[in-house]
């Protein structure tokens, strides 16, 4: 019995290592020279590290085209998503009105709809107005698919700011808008950051809709670029060093943002606002 806890702790650490191994493998291999990766014995540590894989990966410039496309789409989605979701979340958490429940149900249902069940129609719609390969076409679909959960997430934050605080500020002479901007908005900032990062991650990682709506190589986002990169290297001997370097480039910003939002999501709730 006395040895159980240390044993379990050792087990936990072993499991952690197993789980993190693919992530480690991606980063480690990206620094190993191609010649060494071609050996049939895997190299587990990037002992003579090199950045040549990264140089080779970005050499033809297509990485930067895809990066630009991803940034343009992601920023558009985050910007409109936050505005639309914020307005809607104020409506459903501050007002009781006819149709409120129907709206909430509709939002929750839409949130569950899979891209796999809609991309044929979305392709037809976007191509019929000539917006294939454009930032606008794919952004419209992304905003529509990300906005429901963003509304749901922000609703909690807006409801967490007591309306009494706002009314107290109005009694003290602020206008309704002023009270909102000076009192409620700062308290909502963590919620907006969390929702914004959520929207960012969704748009940045999305593959299915992008594959359908961005057929030209010049319009590819980073996930499509990465897949194309793997496909291109599959015709000859796959250059795994470059593929891993490319994967690391795509993954690192995502991992950083994800780790930020993890903490924010919990600390973002402002239940202590009145007490403090």
């Amino acid at each position: 019995m006395r040895f159980r806890k240390p044993l379990l702790s050792a087990l936990a650490i072993v499991i952690a290592l197993v789980w993190v191994f693919p992530v480690y493998w991606m980063v480690s291999s990206s620094f190993i020279p191609t010649i060494q990766l071609q050996s049939f014995i895997p190299t587990f540590f990037p002992a003579p590290a090199t950045v040549s894989n990264y140089v080779g990966t970005v050499a033809d410039g297509s990485f930067f085209t895809a990066l630009g496309m991803s940034l343009a789409i992601t920023l558009t989605v985050v910007f409109f998503c936050l505005i639309f979701a914020f307005l809607a979340s104020v409506a459903i958490s501050r007002f009781r009105f006819r149709g409120r429940t129907s709206f909430v149900i509709a939002v929750l249902v839409v949130q569950m709809l899979p891209a796999e069940g809609l991309f044929i129609a979305q392709y037809k719609m976007v191509s019929s107005v000539g917006l294939l390969d454009s930032v606008i076409g794919v952004s419209i679909i992304y905003i529509a698919s990300v906005v429901p959960f963003t509304i749901w997430m922000l609703r909690g934050f807006v409801a967490g700011v007591p309306a009494d605080l706002e009314e107290a500020a109005m009694v003290d002479g602020l206008s309704r808008f002023g009270a909102f901007m000076r009192i409620t908005f700062p308290l909502l900032a963590p919620g907006l950051v969390a929702s914004g990062v959520y929207a960012f991650l969704q748009a940045w990682n999305e593959f299915t809709v992008a594959l359908v709506l961005l057929p030209s190589e010049s319009a590819h986002t980073l996930p499509l670029w990465l897949r194309g990169f793997v496909q291109a290297s599959a015709t000859k001997e796959t250059d795994w060093g470059q593929v891993m370097a490319a994967s690391t480039l795509v993954a690192v910003p995502v991992i950083i943002f994800f780790l930020i939002v993890q903490g924010r999501l919990t600390s973002g709730l402002v239940s202590g606002a009145v007490k403090g």
């Binding site: 693919p22 679909i141 906005v147 609703r155 593959f207």
Partner: protein
């Protein structure tokens, strides 16, 4: 005077929420509503290659659905998708629950290490994760075959995991489980921390064994979390288009490796049969909404509070 202003204020208050909802409703109707309606209409039409070039699409009623019902290929795809979804979701739940219990049982340092390991895996973008896993399972230079070869008596002979459907879907399932377990483990661990220590101690003083404490106290308290997590996994494991597409890139293009998502994509792109593709899409949407209903109901309950 004051009566009039409060009257206008009240009316403005009632109108305000509708104005606030306009942008969200507009984008949802455009990006989701219109495609769903178009899809329902198209699934009732003959919409093939000729219609792609502008020929009007004749209304054929439920012919597409009747044809699908008699299509053995589709039934295999549906069966495979459901089997994959159910097996993967339950395995994810089982492993996630065990890891959550492990988190609760170990000391702080070990717990932190386990949580960091899981978080890093969780944060990986799907496409990047797929490239790494495809390499890990590569037949010649993959680490998996290399490590299995080291076990005495095991000869992998450069085994090609992606060549037969059976091992292909085992690999797909391992990857999806790896991706999804962190969410399950963290959610259930959060549920476990809600179980009060006093109650557990009281039960222990009354002579309850570890197993009894788990079965009669902990399990009932975390049942709602488990139900929701399982439901979400079932829904998410139906939509594995990215994973299957990337694995098929590395393996075989054959239809034996299709799940619902890639099957629809194939119908729409290579055979250009939008009528049929729409009908299968409607099937996927109906399946998802049926599964989601319990989840949505539990969220609505939370909203009402």
């Amino acid at each position: 005077m004051s009566a009039i202003t409060s009257e206008t204020a009240r009316r403005r208050k009632v109108r305000a929420p509708y104005f606030l909802l306009i942008p969200a409703i507009a984008i949802l109707l455009l990006g989701m509503g219109y495609p769903v309606v178009w899809q329902i209409v198209t699934s009732l039409q003959q919409y093939g290659l000729a219609q792609q070039f502008g020929k009007p699409a004749p209304f054929v009623g439920i012919d597409n659905y009747v044809e699908l019902a008699g299509n053995a290929d589709l039934w295999w795809v549906v069966l495979r998708s459901l089997l994959f979804c159910v097996v993967t979701a339950f395995l994810t739940l089982a492993i996630g629950s065990l890891l959550a219990l492990l988190m609760a049982a170990v000391n702080k340092a070990a717990r932190l290490i386990l949580q960091i390991g899981l978080l890093l895996a969780w944060a990986m973008p799907v496409v990047a994760a797929m490239t790494v896993w495809i390499w890990l399972f590569d037949r010649r230079r993959g680490v998996v075959n290399y490590l299995l070869d080291m076990i005495p008596g095991v000869e992998m002979n450069r085994f090609d995991w992606l060549a037969q459907p059976s091992t292909f879907f085992i690999v797909a399932s391992i990857i999806v489980i790896w991706m999804s377990v962190p969410f399950v483990a963290f959610s259930i661990y959060a549920g476990l921390t809600q179980v009060s220590d006093e109650v557990l101690e009281a039960a222990q003083l009354d002579g309850a064994t570890g197993w009894q404490r788990f079965w009669f106290i902990i399990a009932p308290m975390i049942r709602p979390v488990i139900a929701i997590v399982l439901l979400l996994q079932l829904i998410w494991d139906l939509r594995v288009f990215t994973q299957i597409t990337m694995l098929k890139d590395a393996g075989s293009k054959s239809g034996d490796f299709d799940l619902l998502g890639t099957y629809i994509y194939k119908l729409g792109t290579s055979s250009q049969d939008f009528g049929m593709a729409s009908a299968v899409s409607i099937l996927v949407l109906a399946l998802t909404i049926a599964l989601s209903w319990f989840y949505i109901r539990s969220l609505l309950k939370e909203d009402a509070q």
